[in-house]
């Protein structure tokens, strides 16, 4: 099953709607609730990142019997130092993002804790792809 959602820059009101839709799909597929939670917490953090830090992008989910592969692909500006961004407490979030209850530098570390495989590829000026895989069984 392939699902795809558009993420719009700065659209904080709808931040989480892709994660919400994927959560509902996984529940309909009777995926274990603990696994559903790990998937949606990771995806939600990544979705908020794309809305808060990037010029919009796309969220995709590919679900098969054994795993879910999620991709959050944004249109830039890119992350200059991924190792720095992966460290808890590091953040470049705006005051607006902090007012939403995010921006404490916990997003990428939270994602890492919840997925089985994480790959972050970024090119400054081009964009970032966050690829997350979670085993469903």
């Amino acid at each position: 099953m392939h699902l795809e959602y558009t993420v719009i820059e700065g659209d904080f009101v709808n931040a989480g709607s892709a994660s919400s839709a994927i959560k509902k799909t996984l529940k309909q597929l009777n995926v274990n609730p603990s696994i559903v939670k790990r998937v949606v917490v990771a995806l939600y953090e990544a979705e908020v990142n794309a809305i808060a830090h990037a010029y919009g992008g796309v969220v995709t989910a590919d679900i098969d019997a054994g795993k879910i592969l999620l991709r959050v692909i944004d249109k830039g500006p890119g992350i200059p130092d991924i190792d720095w961004a992966m460290q808890e407490g590091n953040s470049t979030a705006s005051p607006e993002v902090r007012n939403m209850g995010f921006g404490a530098g916990m997003g990428l570390p939270n994602i890492k804790k919840n997925v089985d495989r994480l790959n972050v590829q970024s090119t400054v000026g081009v964009g970032t792809t966050v690829e997350m895989e979670v085993n469903l069984s």
Binding site: F12, V13, A15, G16, S19, S20, K23, P33, S34, K37, V40, V41, Y44, E45, V48, N99, M100, G101, F102, A104, M106, G107, N110, K113
Partner: protein, 114 residues
């Protein structure tokens, strides 16, 4: 402790989920930081927060939390209440500060998550 008793202790107004007030709850987590709330494990459904935005409801949805007490006189919008109702959540409005609300809940016997 029943949710109805929690509402009484906090002098809180229940804005949605009135049909769940007989449910028992013995643990609570308090934070304004949504990423903190997303680190919680399973089966801890109740939070106290002063962050009153659409993201509070979304965070609760993703984190399998469904009882939210808003402190510091924060009032959820109609849009937030609508989403919370769709998700079967209980929302309460409390005029007290976070410290006072947590102190009263502690005194009433509620336990921390950690």
């Amino acid at each position: 402790m029943k949710l109805s008793e929690i509402a009484k202790v906090l002098n809180a107004k229940v804005v949605c989920g009135q049909d769940r007030l007989d449910e028992e709850q013995d643990k609570v987590f308090a934070s304004d930081l949504m990423s903190d709330i997303l680190t919680l494990g399973d089966n801890f459904p109740m939070i106290v927060t002063g962050l009153c935005t659409m993201q509070t409801i979304r965070t609760a949805e993703m984190g399998n939390l469904d009882i939210i007490v808003f402190v510091r006189k924060k009032k959820p919008t109609e849009e937030m209440i609508e989403l919370a109702e769709d998700e079967g959540m209980v929302l309460m409005e409390c005029d007290y500060s976070m410290f006072k609300a947590c102190g009263l809940l502690w005194e009433a016997g509620l336990k921390p998550i950690y």
